[in-house]
């Protein structure tokens, strides 16, 4: 009887979830309420957490609540502090949630909401949350070491260095693609440019306030900063409507690119307290607040999904990004389903604050479920706007034209009926000059969020405010990521270069700092510039590179988990990490191969390069290139991207070889060979 009583409620949850999924998947022809998506997702999360994560915790990893964690062993009240599990959950979630789960699902919506939703749910349960959980576990048992160190320790020095180098390249691509999203959102938008630009003086003021006027009063200064941000949104509206001022804040993509590059360099050599820290406070709190607001908004408004469950682009050849569902859907949605970058967070600050090893399940697995829910909300927001508007915003001009008339006409031939007036009116509603060709996720998400939130607060008159609030919220934490990422990249680069020129290793030396920062900014700036001038819209090139590299890092983390399980003599459970690793390897290697060698110039870099090289040889120019030099630059960039793809494939394959060696080595030994810190019992008082 107790068995029935214990499992019956969960049986009901799973029946409800299955019913919701059936409604979503089978409701052809009629609009489905977004609430069904929310119900299906929450039921899947509950069941997965209750059963699968418990299985991982007890059987696979064998979490030991009596074992002392690094927070107790190395307690210093600063980095290593035993922390309440709910407090730490908040910290961990804030560290893993970023732009990724918001952008990927929006781009994937071109196939309809169903493929993306299913991958988000299946991916998080069997891959993403497992990765975050096991890396947190492995790191906690090794004094909270970082992923690079863990790979070195368990697989060997060479794969450790390879993995570190891979992480550096991923960082560069992430920074470029994030910056590209900001450029796409702010191009030709005086309102957005003014508002985002105003965050710089606001942050500087906050920095000075926090350093000299009222040191350390985070709450107080964040409230002041928030009020100033809201004023800057209103100021942006004033600029937008003022014909004398608007031109001062209207820039094209190229100009914005140079500004961002300059900003990135200056921001990352300034002292952290002046600009980075205060903006980080704003962006973190705004991020958490906006995610909560969006969740509440979806529950209250219960918007209908206007996007079909599957569009004709589910078979491939979509305008937003090219390629087939397999493998490209699985690299387009990275964060939210599985994200390798989380392995860096799970082996960063969180393991140093874990109060009890038993909490790793709630924080590692549970934290990722919350991130996945953010991705589901982004998918809902993108799917509740008119499909015609979605495709008008996300298709490159080369494909659909650049005036409302031509765009509306092209989209109608695709079956997404829309009139030019609706496109013009929508732009007017959100306070923009145009909404065409704004691929990149942020503007689409902002339209979706404005669509939901204006029904809760403010009505039609507030539509433009909510749109720019959403743009501000995304731009703010993307800029923080660009700034913090450039700094982190600089340290990595100084470490790498320091092995050849020791003088460059000193992080306190100004010339070394400037050189490394300059190289770092030049690297991501190059890819950003390339993306802005890209004939296929930039996102089509950079997002797959980001997705491939990010998913490969996840595969590396899961391979590490597999080796550790074998070393712990728990090989019979290693399928929990090995299967998702194999799946990610299949997706990323196929995608990488196709990005290099596909004969379709929209997919394959080399085919695209050849198309332009052939035209160049015949003396013709292909749009958007206007000179032979521009043509050869496109050819060079394509070949560079192909080389980068090949490099990523090489990195992941070499880690695979070392992992197989590690597994064989572990199996040959009769005793456990994992290099954990020795067992120490938890202090009595802490149990």
């Amino acid at each position: 009887m107790p068995f029935v009583r214990r499992h019956l409620p969960w049986l009901l949850v799973s029946v409800l979830g299955a019913f919701a999924l059936a409604v979503i998947a089978l409701g052809r022809g009629e609009a489905v309420s977004a609430l069904w998506v929310v119900v299906a997702a929450v039921c899947v999360y509950l069941i997965a957490y209750r059963y699968y994560s418990l299985f991982l915790a007890t059987k696979v990893m064998g979490l030991d609540p009596t074992r002392k964690t690094p927070a107790w062993t190395h307690n210093d009240g600063l980095d290593y502090v035993p922390t309440n599990k709910y407090v730490l959950y908040g910290h961990h979630f804030a560290a893993i949630a970023g732009a990724g789960p918001l952008v990927g699902p929006v781009l994937a919506a071109q196939m309809g909401y169903l493929p993306g939703l299913l991958w988000i749910l299946a991916g998080v349960v069997f891959a993403g949350a497992v990765q975050d959980f096991i890396v947190l576990f492995i790191s906690t048992r090794r004094d909270g070491r970082s992923l690079g160190d863990l790979v070195k320790q368990e697989l060997g020095t060479v794969p450790g260095i390879i993995a570190l180098f891979g992480a550096f390249m991923i960082m560069i691509i992430i920074l470029a693609v994030l910056a590209l999203i900001v450029v796409k959102a702010l191009a030709d938008s005086p309102w957005g440019t003014f508002t985002v630009g105003a965050t710089i003086p606001v942050a500087l003021f906050m920095g000075i306030y926090l350093r000299f006027i009222r040191p350390g009063r985070i709450g107080e200064v964040s409230i002041i900063g928030f009020v100033l941000l809201m004023l800057s949104i209103l100021g942006g509206q004033w600029v937008h409507e003022n014909p004398a001022l608007a031109p001062w804040f209207t820039f094209d993509g190229k100009a914005l690119t140079w500004m961002l590059i300059g900003y990135g360099f200056i921001a990352s050599v300034l002292p952290v307290w002046l600009l980075l820290a205060p903006r980080d406070y704003l962006s973190t709190f705004l991020k958490i607040g906006t995610i909560l607001a969006l969740a509440i908004g979806i529950l209250i408004v219960a918007p209908e999904l206007k996007m079909p469950a599957m569009t004709k682009f589910a078979e491939g050849n979509g305008p937003v990004w090219s390629g087939n569902l397999f493998p490209f859907l699985f690299i387009t949605i990275a964060c939210g389903a599985v994200s390798g970058f989380h392995a860096l967070i799970s082996s960063g600050t969180t393991p140093k604050m874990l109060e009890n090893e038993g909490h790793a399940r709630f924080i590692g697995y549970g934290g990722m479920l919350a991130e996945s829910f953010v991705a589901v909300m982004a998918l809902v927001a993108a799917s509740c706007i008119e499909p015609g508007i979605y495709f008008a915003m996300n298709s490159p001009a080369a494909l659909v034209g650049s005036t409302p008339e031509t765009v509306a006409q092209t989209l109608s031939t695709w079956g997404f009926v829309i009139t030019p007036d609706v496109l013009i009116q929508t732009a007017k509603d959100v306070g923009e000059n145009t909404i065409l060709a704004r691929a990149g996720g942020a503007p689409t998400l902002a339209v979706g969020m404005a669509h939901i939130l204006h029904q809760v607060v403010g009505g039609q008159a507030m539509m433009a405010f909510w749109y720019h609030f959403a743009i501000l919220f995304e731009a703010l934490f993307i800029l923080t990521a660009v700034d913090a990422g450039t700094r982190a990249g600089r340290f990595m680069l100084q470490d790498l270069l320091g092995t050849f020129v020791p003088a460059l290793k000193r992080t306190d030396s100004l010339p070394a700092n400037l050189i490394a920062t300059g190289l770092c900014v030049a690297a991501w700036g190059y890819f950003l510039y390339q993306g802005v001038g890209d004939p296929l819209g930039g996102i089509n090139t950079l997002w797959p590179l980001f997705g491939i590299s990010n998913q490969m890092l996840a595969a590396v983390a899961l391979m590490l988990g597999t080796v550790v399980l074998f070393r712990m003599k728990r090989g019979q459970y290693a399928w929990t990490t090995a299967l998702p690793a194999v799946w990610l390897l299949a997706c990323t290697l196929t995608a990488g191969w196709q990005k290099i060698f596909s004969a379709d110039p929209k997919v394959g870099f080399l085919a695209h390069a050849n198309k332009y090289a052939d035209a160049l040889a015949q003396g013709t120019l292909l749009a958007p290139a206007k000179t032979p030099e521009a043509m050869s630059r496109i050819v060079f960039n394509d070949r560079l991207d192909a080389a980068l793809c090949a490099l990523f494939i090489g990195v992941v394959l070499s880690v695979l070889v070392y992992s197989v060696k590690g597994v064989l080595d572990a199996r040959a030994k009769s005793k456990p060979s994992a290099s954990e810190t020795p067992y120490q019992p938890m202090p009595e008082a802490a149990r």
């Binding site: 502090v81 350390g216 990249g489």
Partner: protein, 69 residues
């Protein structure tokens, strides 16, 4: 549960919320730090709040791990 207990619980939840928000931006609980110093290093003078805040700020942004995508 009586009213006083309930008020206590709400207060504790509020404290955790504030702690969590501060930890999100990299500032751990100062009271915990002071208790740690008093318990394990009674011979050393703990940093005052301002120094503690600056130390944590530098540590957060001086580290090699970036933020997530």
């Amino acid at each position: 549960m009586n009213a006083a207990q309930l008020a206590g619980e709400v207060q504790q939840a509020g404290r955790y919320l504030v702690q969590s928000l501060r930890l999100m931006v990299g500032v751990p609980d100062y009271g915990t730090y002071l208790r740690h110093m008093a318990a394990t290093h009674p011979d050393q003078e703990p940093m005052d709040y301002e120094a503690f805040f600056r130390e944590r700020q530098d540590a957060r942004y001086g580290s090699r791990t970036g933020r997530c995508c």
